[in-house]
Subunit: 191 residues, 2 copies
């Protein structure tokens, strides 16, 4: 249900169109929540039906009307109520770890390659987050919404850093135990 609440928070900060909300999922909140444009539009329509948000149609030339959504009092009430409910850790479903577990059933090099590739991806993402962090730190008086968003960015930075470190750990172990059959004692001490 948190998709609706994420959107509520975004709209509570600033009234926006569905398109703009969708962009937030690529930018600011992307480090902890993903949603496709279709999901956003559908959710907004549902939320409007439930009275959590309302929109003002802004006519445009050639394009469909822009719907600027804002949170209603009912929506703010919902946000408050939701604030008191406990949250659960997100279930993890990580393809790469399935691949690692499948290690004995495929060539070692392919696995090493894949971990390398993933390390690079996390490295690149970390760079983007670090830039955003630098931008944030340059703001003299960040607004409360920004201050809290920064905490989520910190989570993103930690997450990527942690992945990189794990990749390095795995690559080291895979290198050390390259041929367990040839030298079983080495392989063993490596683990």
């Amino acid at each position: 249900m948190a998709l609706a609440h994420t959107i509520l928070v975004l709209l509570a900060n600033t009234p926006r169109s569905g398109y703009d909300v969708s962009k937030c999922f690529d930018d600011s909140v992307g480090c902890f929540w993903k949603a496709s444009q279709q999901q956003v539009y559908r959710e907004l329509a549902r939320m409007e039906q439930q009275g959590l948000v309302e929109f003002e149609a802004v006519p445009q030339e050639g394009k469909p009307d822009k719907k600027i959504y804002r949170v209603t009092p009912v929506g703010m009430q919902e946000l408050s109520a939701w604030f008191t409910e406990p949250t659960d850790p997100a279930p993890i479903r990580e393809d790469l770890l399935v691949r690692v577990m499948a290690g004995p059933y495929g060539p070692r090099e392919l696995l090493v390659q894949e971990v390398h590739r993933r390390r690079q991806m996390h490295h690149d993402q970390l760079q983007r987050y670090r830039e955003k962090e630098a931008n944030y730190r340059a703001i003299a008086q960040p607004s409360p919404p920004l201050q809290f968003l920064y905490l989520t960015l910190r989570r993103g930075i930690r997450y990527e850093t942690d992945w990189i470190e794990w990749c390095d750990e795995v690559l080291t172990i895979l290198k050390e135990s390259a041929d367990p059959q040839e030298d079983a004692s080495t392989a063993q001490s490596a683990l």
Copy 2:
């Protein structure tokens, strides 16, 4: 699609019943993949139809037949083919971070409480993982499947540790900037 492949790897290690596969999702692979019993049964039925696995029905008294699944040659082929495909990082959908972003719209104490609670959960999970790690290290000659599974356990340990550290970071910041209105300069330097 990785649910099927996770099951394939589990069955490649040891033929098991659906019930036993389901238990693995609570135990060994729980740190990177969750699946309900229903999901497992449905997936196994689908995989059987596709010829990836086959089962031997073991009659039991009073209970339904136990179906012991094993991977077929076609299943092993599928596993090999899948091994060459790249994996994508799992999209993150973290309720707690939505809550943090919603920080300005609820009482500070509630947020602090929630982060505390989550810290405790990650702490407890970490303890469980550390026990499993100790068990693993006590094994003289771990089999290759176990060796690779250990790498995924390392990921779990890192993950939980990382969360705990982030919780501590957030709790520190929330304490420091307890009342930004009263002392804006302190609040600012804290961020």
